[in-house]
C-alpha cells in the first residue's frame, strides 16, 4: 500500500516494536549465530552441495524484487533454501549435512546476496530474513534427522516424493502463520483476516516456490547438482510473470488515483480528500476483516466516490456532499456510478459508488464504509481542531439510518490506534 500510504493528519503512525516481534527476531538471530559459529568450528560436511546451494540462494537474493508489496519477492532464493533443507541424496549418494549446516549456509548466502540491495538502500528487511531462517530451520528439523538416521530408507520413490510435498505444505502453513503473526504484532490488525490473506498469497507464487523446492530436491537426488540451474529458469519465468502482473496493478492503481484527482483539480473536492478517504476506508475495511480483493474494490470505490461531481456544471461548495439533500446525494452517486462503469473498473466498484448515498441497510458493506468514512472526512475537515471527535459524535448520532454502527465503531478504533498503513518494514 505504498502508493496510498498516507498519514491522516493528526493521527500519526505509531512506531514501537512490539514484544512478540522482538522475540521472533531474537530467536532467528540466535539460531543464525549459533549455526554460523558451529559451522565455523566444525567445517562443512558437504562442501560441494553447500557451495552449489549457497550460490543458488545468493543468486536468488540478487534477483530479489524490491519495491513491491508481494509476499515473496525472492522466490528463487526461497525455493533453493527449501530444496536444500529437504535434500536427501545427491546423484544417488546419501548426504549427511545437518540442520545447523543448512541454516548457516542459507544465512550466509542470503546475507551475501542482499549486499547490493542494501547498498542501494532497499534491501530485504529483518522480517524477511527472520521468516526465511525460521521456515528453513523448520523444514530442516522436520526432515534431516529422520533422513540422517536412515528412517526413510524403506520408503518407495513416489511415497518419498509425497512426503516431501507434505512437509513443504506444512512449512508453507507455518510460514503463513508466522508472517500473519508478525504483521499482527506490527499493525494490530485482526489476526484472522491477516492469516487468510497470507494463505491466499501462498496459493499463488508460494505454491510455485514449494513445488520448485520439492522438484529441485528430487532432481538433485537423480541427476546431481546440474538440476539446480536447469530448474531455476522456469521459476524465474514464474517470477517474471508475477512481477509484471504486480507492476501493471501498480500502474492501474496510479491511474485510478489520477482519475480521482480530476475532481480535486476541477475544484469539486479539496486536495487529498479522495486519497484520505481511500486510506481510511481501507483501514476500516481491514478492521472489519474484509478480504484483499474486497479491500481493492473498496479502495478504488473510495478513490472515485466523488467522480460523479465531474458531471455537475457547478461544483458543490467545498465538495461536501454529506450536507446535501438525500436526493441530491443519490443523484450524484448515480452519475458517479455511470462514470465508473465506463472506466472499465470492476463492476463492483461502480455498484459501491452508486449506492454510497443509500441508507446503510440497503448498501453492501463496502459502500457503508465509504459512506461513513467520507462523511467523517468532510465533517472533521470543517470542524477544525477537535473536529475528529465532533465528527465521530455526529456519525454516532446518525447510526439509525445513514451509517452502520459497526462501521462507525471500527472507524473510531482505527482513528484511536492511528496505524493506518503497514509500515514499510512489514
Amino acid at each position: 500500500m505504498s502508493a496510498l500510504g498516507v498519514e491522516i493528519p493528526g493521527y500519526g503512525i505509531v512506531g514501537r516494536a512490539p514484544v512478540t516481534l522482538t522475540l521472533v527476531h531474537a530467536v532467528a538471530l540466535l539460531l543464525a549465530v549459533v549455526s554460523l559459529a558451529v559451522v565455523f568450528w566444525h567445517g562443512l560436511d558437504e562442501r560441494g552441495v553447500a557451495l552449489a546451494f549457497g550460490i543458488l540462494i545468493a543468486v536468488g537474493e540478487l534477483t530479489r524484487w524490491s519495491g513491491a508489496e508481494e509476499r515473496e519477492s525472492a522466490p528463487l532464493a526461497a525455493a533453493g533454501a527449501l530444496a536444500y533443507a529437504l535434500l536427501g541424496e545427491n546423484a544417488g549418494h546419501r548426504t549427511d549435512h545437518g540442520v545447523l549446516e543448512i541454516v548457516a549456509v542459507v544465512v550466509a548466502a542470503a546475507l551475501i546476496g542482499c549486499v547490493p540491495h542494501v547498498a542501494q538502500g532497499r534491501g530485504p528487511t529483518a522480517d524477511h530474513l527472520t521468516r526465511r531462517v525460521l521456515t528453513v530451520a523448520f523444514a530442516a528439523v522436520c526432515f534431516q534427522p529422520l533422513y540422517n538416521q536412515g528412517r526413510l530408507m524403506g520408503w518407495g520413490g513416489p511415497s518419498y516424493a509425497l512426503l516431501l510435498v507434505s512437509l513443504l505444505v506444512l512449512t508453507a502453513l507455518c510460514d503463513a502463520v508466522l508472517a500473519a503473526a508478525m504483521a499482527h504484532a506490527r499493525t494490530r490488525w485482526p489476526f484472522g483476516p491477516l492469516l487468510r490473506d497470507e494463505l491466499r498469497a501462498t496459493l499463488g507464487i508460494g505454491s510455485a516456490v514449494c513445488a520448485t523446492g520439492a522438484v529441485m530436491s528430487l532432481a538433485v537426488a537423480v541427476v546431481g547438482l546440474w538440476a539446480l540451474p536447469v530448474f531455476s529458469l522456469p521459476l524465474l519465468l514464474t517470477q517474471l510473470s508475477v512481477r509484471r502482473y504486480a507492476a501493471v496493478r501498480v500502474t492501474y492503481r496510479q491511474t485510478i488515483a489520477s482519475l480521482a484527482r480530476a475532481t480535486e483539480i476541477a475544484g469539486y473536492t479539496p486536495t487529498g480528500h479522495a486519497r484520505r478517504v481511500a486510506a481510511l476506508s481501507r483501514a476500516v475495511g481491514r478492521e472489519l476483516g474484509l478480504s484483499e480483493p474486497d479491500l481493492t474494490v473498496l479502495e478504488y470505490a473510495a478513490l472515485m466516490h466523488d467522480i460523479g461531481q465531474l458531471s455537475l456544471v457547478d461544483p458543490v461548495p467545498a465538495g461536501a456532499t454529506s450536507v446535501l439533500s438525500a436526493d441530491e446525494q443519490r443523484r450524484i452517486a448515480l452519475l458517479g456510478g455511470a462514470v465508473v462503469r465506463q472506466t472499465g473498473v470492476d463492476a463492483e466498484v461502480a455498484v459501491v459508488v452508486e449506492r454510497q448515498a443509500d441508507p446503510y441497510r440497503e448498501q453492501p458493506v463496502t459502500a457503508r464504509i465509504v459512506r461513513a468514512v467520507n462523511a467523517y472526512e468532510e465533517m472533521a475537515r470543517e470542524a477544525g481542531p477537535g473536529g475528529p471527535l465532533t465528527a465521530l459524535e455526529k456519525l454516532r448520532l446518525a447510526t439509525a439510518r445513514d451509517y452502520q454502527p459497526e462501521v462507525v465503531e471500527s472507524l473510531a478504533r482505527v482513528l484511536l490506534r492511528g496505524t493506518l498503513t503497514l509500515p514499510q518494514a512489514g
Binding site: 522456469p234 514464474t238 492501474y252 462514470v339 463492476a347
Partner: protein, 504 residues
Amino acid sequence: MGSIPTWARVYVVCVVLAAAACLAPLPDLHAPWWIVAVLAALYAGCERIPFPHSPRGAAARVAERGAPRGLGTFLPVLLAGAFLLPPSAAALVALPGALLARVEQRPRWLRRVWRAAQLAVAVWAASRVHWALGGRDAVALPHFPYALVPAGAAVLTFCVVLTALDGGILALAERVPVRGAWRGLFSRSLASVAVHGLAGLMMAVLWRSPYGPVAALLVLLPMYVSCWAFAQYHRERAAHQATIRALVQAVDIKDGYTRGHSERVGQASMMIARELGMDDERVEVLRFAGILHDVGKLGVPTRLLRKDGPLTPEERRIIELHPEYGHEMVRGIGFLGEARSAILHHHERIDGSGYPYGLVGRQIPEFARVVAVADAFDAMTSTRSYRRARPVPVALEELERCAGAQFDPGMVRALVRALNRHGWHPAVTAGVYPPSPEFSTSLEQGGPPSPVSGRTEGNPTNKSGFSASTDGCSVAADGPSTGVGRDPDGVDPPASGVVGRGRS
C-alpha cells in the same frame, strides 16, 4: 467459414496430411501406452483450464510485443512426451487436447484441426531429433549435462517448425507479408519455448526416475502459476487500457470534440515518432502522451469549454490552465515518464508565444513538439460544428506554413513523410490498441476476437473554444469561435457508446 481464403484451406489440408503421415507408424508401434494416455489426458486437462480472459484479451495480446500469449502450462507436457516417447506416439499426445481445446473464434473446427495437426507435426519433429541425438538414453540414465544437447536441439526444432507453420497460415489467411509474419514469431517464442523445454526435460527425467510421475507432475505447478499470473496480467492491463480510454472519452465529451480526437492525436503522434526512429518503448509512451494531452480539461468548467461566443480574457486564462491541470493529474502515473512533460507543454510554440511557460525552440520537450503538431493536424482534418473537415493536403500545407513559428519544422516534415508512406486512416477501434488479426496463431492462442467497432464517423457535435482558425499562424490554437451551447440541465450525458467492459 467464408472469410478463410481457399489457399489457406489448402495449406491446412496439407499440414493435416503431414500430421497423418507422422502418426502413420502408430499401429505397429510398441510404445508405453499408459504414458501416452496419462500425458494426453494431462495435456487435454491443461488446455481446458480456464484462465480469466478479458473481453479485450485479443486486442491487448497484439499489443503485447515479445510475449506470446498462452504458451501455457501445456508446453512442458508436450515436450516431456517428445523426450519420453517414440516420435509418432509423442505426436499422438497432442491430438486430444488440441481437438478439445477452447476456441472462441470462428470457424472453430477448422482452427482446432489446424492446431492439432500443427502441434502433431512439430512434436513429431522434435521427438525425431531428440531420438536421433541419443536423447532417450541420456534422459533414462540420466546422463547430465549431455542430456541438455538433444533436448536443446529438440526445442529448437519444435520452435522452428511451429513458427514456420504459423508464418504460413498468417501469410495465407491474414495476408500478412511472409517475411513480416515470420520475423517476429520465432524470436518472440524461442526464449519462452526454451524455458518450457527445460521444464519438460526435468519432467521427463523425474518420470523415468524412481520417484515416478508424481514428482514429474510437480514441475507443472510453477508453470501453471506463471500462466495464471500472465493471464491476470493481461486482464489487468486491458482494464487499465479501458480506464485510460474512458478518461479520454470523458475529455472528448466534456469538450464537445468529435469523438476520438484524443486517440487520433495519439495515432498521429505515434506515426511521427516512428518516422523519427524512436524505439518502441518511447513510441508507446508518446502515443499515451497524445491520447492524454488534453486530460487537464477535466478540470476546466464545462461551461467555459462549451461557451457560445467569444471568451473573455479571464475565461481564456482559465482554459489555458488545462496543460497544468493535466500535468498535475498524471503526475502520479509512473509509466508515463516523458509523456507528462508533453502534456504540460503541448501548447508551447516554437517562437515562444505559447503557454503555459512560453518556452522557445529546443526548450520545449521533444514529445511536446510532436504532440503539438499531431493535435493541430487532427483538429484541422476533423469536422467541427462550425466548419467541415479540411482535406489532409490542405492541413499539411497549413502546418508547413506555420512551421518554424508555431511548430517544429522537423516534426512537421516527419508527419508529412509518414502520411506519404502510410496514408491517414484514423480508425478508432474499441481497444486502445489496433485490432488483432482474425486468425490467431497457436503460439498466441486464446482470447476472443477484439470487438472492433468502427467509430470513424466525424460525429459533428457542437464545439467552441479550442479550434483551428487560420488567422495568421495559429493553427488549432485557442481561437474562440462560435458553437451551440447545450445541456440546459447542466449535466453531461454519460458517454454513450463507451464500451462497458464486463469481466469474464
